[in-house]
Amino acid sequence: MEKKDQLFKQIFDTNSKKIFHLCYGYTGDEDSANDLLQETFLKVWQNLDKFRNKSLISTWIYRIAVNTCLTYLRSEKRQAKDELTENIIENRPEEFSEKNEQVALLYKSIAKLEENDRLIITMVLDELPYHEIAEISGISEGNLRVKIHRIKQKLTELYNQHARI
């Protein structure tokens, strides 16, 4: 049991930040991202014995996180994402700066994307290799490249639109 706990701790320390960022990008809300992070790692802990090294452990965790994100927001019928991202600015006036405003705009732009696209672009932004993203999202690498190109364009467009307002 102690060995499992130690292994879990190591996995958590290595992957939690990236998974949290993924969840944060998807929800635009820290509390929801925390919930998703917990759900993901709770499941990782429970199923650690079933992991068979067929893929990288990080890929396995990302797949759990992606599915957790998709089912979480659908079942919870969470608050509209626009409002949440706006809260990033409104709730923390002390942190307000041009950079923070840009970050908030970025989250707002990500929120305008389709649910799956949001997750894919978050992984792209975190520089995950394409073959890993393909494995996590269950899309062929060829199709994924096309999709990523389209999402990048869309995100840039949305960001510039928001920046002009």
């Binding site: 949290f20 917990q38 759900e39 429970q46 759990i64 950079k99 840039t156």
Partner: protein, 198 residues
């Protein structure tokens, strides 16, 4: 006009902070489950206190009429039976740890919820009737020497209290408990379902 590279650098410059450690995470997950257990235990503890208080009446106070003894006996037995049922229900959720055996815990949680529903519906009325019968017998001797207005006040208060427990308090408790357990079941089901998709 910003390019995607700028967006990427912006994303990477926004550092997020994970505010929970691996130990805290497991503790927190267990805490939600423990909340249901703790409430169940407190419920049992409350019943045990009532049992002790009424048993103390029987032991430390001399009563002349058999009706008082019978009344207290009925009340004590009713409380004891209800407490045992509560304890058996508690054991259902205490048997498994969600983080160790999620499926077994989830099915036990559903059984627990169903049992609770029965306990606060059909069984509750049997319990309330038994308690009322016990009180009627108990009051027969106890109120005998009191003034009429005190007799009426005590009986009226008892009826009011039992009515309050059987209606507003019971329904509110059931509603709150159902919401809590539903939320837990929903959460654990979502976690389990999500993993089946892997």
């Amino acid at each position: 006009m910003q390019e995607f590279d700028h967006i990427q650098s912006l994303w990477q410059s926004h550092s997020v902070e994970v505010k929970i450690s691996s130990e805290e995470m497991l503790v927190q997950a267990k805490k939600e489950v423990n909340g249901v257990r703790t409430r169940s235990l407190l419920n049992i503890l409350g019943m045990l206190l009532s049992f002790t208080a009424i048993a103390a009446l029987l032991v430390f106070f001399p009563f002349n009429s058999w009706t008082t003894l019978a009344g207290l006996g009925v009340i004590i037995v009713s409380i004891a039976v209800y407490t045992i049922i509560l304890y058996l229900d508690y054991r259902i959720i205490a048997r498994n740890d969600f983080t160790e055996h999620p499926n077994a815990f989830l099915s036990n949680l559903k059984i627990y919820q169903l049992n609770k529903f029965n306990l606060y519906n059909r069984l509750y009325w049997i319990y309330a009737i038994a308690l009322s019968f016990g009180f009627i017998l108990y009051f027969y001797e106890m109120l005998d020497n009191m003034e009429l207005w005190i007799q009426i006040s005590i009986v009226a208060f008892t009826i009011f209290w039992m009515f309050l427990c059987a209606t507003i308090l019971r329904k509110a408790y059931m509603k709150r408990e159902k919401e809590r357990i539903d939320l837990l079941i929903e959460k654990f089901e979502r976690i389990s379902e999500q993993f089946k998709e892997q």
